[in-house]
């Protein structure tokens, strides 16, 4: 069976920069794919490209985005509008800025249904109430007339989710959906997303910087750095045996709950510098921050080495975790 989504050699360009370069991945129906990376890694622009909602200055300069076999890049605005919100939907980090402050949440959810399913006002309102129930908002028939400011952050994100799943999309893109929420509320929202994914047979692209979220919610993981995919793995493999020096650096830089590593017993392992140093780099984008960099790393961008179909790494100098002294405190 053809994959639901196939991204091939995607490059996104601004007039003076290429924030996403030569990115490829694919995902099947009902699967959760996590894209992780820090700010500047290109993960959010990738999400916007999937929705064909790139900012004006940016454009896809090469590559292909096939959704259900159709290349989204060849669709005109009208065709894309029919797809967007119906087959592909998106939720964002800060629901308050994506919701209309002067429109009740019921009308905002109903709008999607009026456009895509040609529902009447009354029918749309009924469905909006059902959707609010689906996303576990208590007293949905009362809440439907509330305005965004009357809801908590967690409730607003539930409203966004209700709107996104209103037309039973096949693909949901969730860009840092819980970053602005407390851990207690994050757990509720991720629970909900996963339940809906199963109930609606929906594939989810989960964009996040939180490695814990990745470990617990993703089927597969793509690690991005400075616009490129540097590693791809199943979550278990990624955490037990990270291959790319950047992934290894991230894992050892993060303080973790389940070990008793404390400031009195040692320093956290830093990744020196910042992602900005990748600008203008001709070779490996991580080279300026990499502890294992050698002269050859500046010659060309390291190609992705396919170890297994689920395990790709863009570094020729990978070694097992045990060879990295700094990672000794990790109890993964």
């Amino acid at each position: 069976m053809a994959p639901l989504l196939q991204v091939e050699n995607l490059t996104i360009g601004f007039p003076r920069a290429e924030p996403v370069r030569d990115l490829s991945f694919e995902m099947g129906a009902g699967e959760t794919l996590a894209i992780v990376g820090e700010s500047g890694s290109g993960k959010s622009l990738t999400a916007l490209a999937l929705m064909q909602l790139l900012p004006r200055a940016a454009q896809v300069t090469s590559g292909r985005i096939a959704f259900n076999g159709r290349d989204l890049l060849t669709l005109d605005a009208r065709e894309m509008r029919q797809l967007r919100g119906r087959d592909i939907a998106m939720i964002f980090q800060e629901p308050m800025t994506s919701l209309n402050p002067v429109m009740s949440i019921g009308r905002q959810i109903g709008e999607v249904l009026k456009v895509h399913e040609k529902l009447s006002g009354r029918a749309a309102r009924e469905r909006a109430i059902e959707l609010l129930r689906l996303v576990r908002i208590p007293a949905a028939e009362k809440r439907v007339d509330d305005y965004p400011h009357q809801l908590s952050g967690g409730m607003r994100q539930r409203v966004m989710i209700a709107m996104a799943v209103a037309c039973r999309p096949k693909l949901l893109i969730a860009d840092e959906p819980t970053t602005a929420l407390d851990v207690t509320i994050q757990a509720q929202v991720l629970d909900l997303l996963d339940t809906l994914r199963r109930e609606l047979q929906m594939a989810v692209v989960l964009i996040t910087h939180d490695l814990g979220v990745v470990a617990q919610w993703a089927d597969r993981v793509v690690v991005m750095y400075a616009g490129r995919k540097v590693e791809q793995a199943l979550p278990g493999d990624l955490f037990n045996d990270p291959l790319h020096p950047y992934t290894r650096g991230l894992l050892s830089a993060s303080p973790r709950l389940k070990n008793d590593f404390h400031y009195l017993s040692g320093r956290l392992t830093e990744i020196p510098g910042s992602i900005v140093s990748a600008a203008g780099e001709t070779g490996c984008p991580f080279r300026p921050r990499c502890r294992q960099a050698r002269a050859s790393c500046s010659h060309q961008v390291p190609p992705l080495i396919v170890q297994t179909p689920d395990r790709l790494v863009a570094c020729p100098f990978t070694s097992p975790l045990k060879a990295v002294p700094d990672a000794a405190h990790l109890s993964l």
């Binding site: 757990a187 991720l190 814990g212 650096g249 830089a253 709950l257 404390h262 400031y263 993964l332």
Partner: protein, 314 residues
């Protein structure tokens, strides 16, 4: 004598929706050289508590003592003197840096206000603090927008250190930073603590950071401290059901996923539940919890908890 202490501290705001009880009866102590973590969900009052200790917000009731001196009602002139010794670092350093001033000007300003040395001496102080926090010397002539998030936080730390404080209140200092930068800033804070003999009150919603960084931890819920223990005890033997729920909610790569440990949202601080304020979300709540507010009591030396059922938890 503790470095700073608060007793029955309250900060209430009058709003259209009624009385907002942000901080609602807090006792706390920070000893010299100690790093105390303050954790809780957004809206629990942890930032307001931090600002009240600095007297950036005036308390409604209670008492704050700094090095044995009552600073609760100190007049602005004498408060300025105390503020040399208590500094604050914010989550978003960019918002707290004047975009039209160079880093040199920003860092010199507190020295002018507090009449610390003449011009060459001030310049010397600024240059040496910039080197200490790991910024390049030429940073002095640059503007805040020219720096990355991690570097801006270094500027914020430099400013806090300038006047040689005893205590720094850190309000979510690494929450806005990427993981790779977070480690750099935490390491810097540890170094500065050693070098300057600092104490920190470290406000954070990130339990894994608090676990690494703190000596003792206070857990706050709706304006009150509900549990207090040294770092090791809190993580090996958390007693309050809220503390346990917070810990369980952190997604942890080393254990399988579990159902969300806590339902519902934090109730509004303008409508605090009767009895134990956590009872509306507590899986263990009894009839007693609905009517009687539990006392904040010691269950063993250095470990206090405000819960009726804490003793019966496995």
């Amino acid at each position: 004598m503790p470095l700073i202490s608060a007793s029955d501290l309250k900060t209430h705001y009058k709003t259209r929706d009624g009385l907002l009880r942000s901080v609602d009866g807090v006792d706390l102590v920070v000893e010299r050289g100690e790093t105390v973590g303050l954790v809780g969900e957004s809206g629990c009052g942890k930032s307001t508590l931090g600002k009240t200790l600095l007297r950036l917000v005036d308390p409604t009731a209670g008492r704050i003592e700094f090095k044995g001196e009552d600073i609760t009602d100190l007049d602005p002139g004498r408060l300025r003197n105390v503020r040399k010794s208590i500094q604050m670092i914010f989550q978003d350093p960019f918002a707290s840096l004047n975009p039209r001033h160079t880093i040199g000007e920003i860092l010199e300003a507190p020295l002018i206000v507090h009449k610390a040395g003449n011009r060459p001496e001030r310049r010397h102080t600024v240059a040496s603090i910039i080197a200490k926090v790991g910024l390049p010397a030429e940073a002095i002539n640059r503007y805040p927008h020219e720096f990355s998030g991690g570097q801006r936080q270094r500027i914020g730390i430099a400013r806090a250190l300038l006047l040689n404080p005893d205590l720094i209140v850190c309000d979510e200092p690494v929450s806005a930073l990427d993981l790779s930068i977070q480690a750099q800033i935490l390491n810097l804070l540890v170094e500065m603590k050693k070098e300057f003999g600092l104490s920190y009150l470290f406000i954070s919603h990130d339990l894994s950071v608090v676990r690494y960084f703190c000596d003792r931890v206070l857990v706050m819920y709706l304006g009150r401290i509900v549990e207090s223990a040294d770092n090791e005890t809190l993580w090996s033997d958390p007693r309050h059901p809220y503390t346990r729920a917070l810990m369980a909610a952190v997604p942890d790569p080393s254990r399988p996923r579990q159902a969300a440990p806590l339902g519902g949202d934090l109730p509004s601080p303008s409508d605090i539940p009767s009895g134990c304020r956590f009872h509306t979300r507590c899986p263990l709540a009894t009839e007693l919890c609905r009517v009687a507010e539990p006392e904040f009591r010691s269950i063993k030396p250095g470990h206090q908890v405000a819960c009726h059922v804490a003793d019966h938890i496995n």
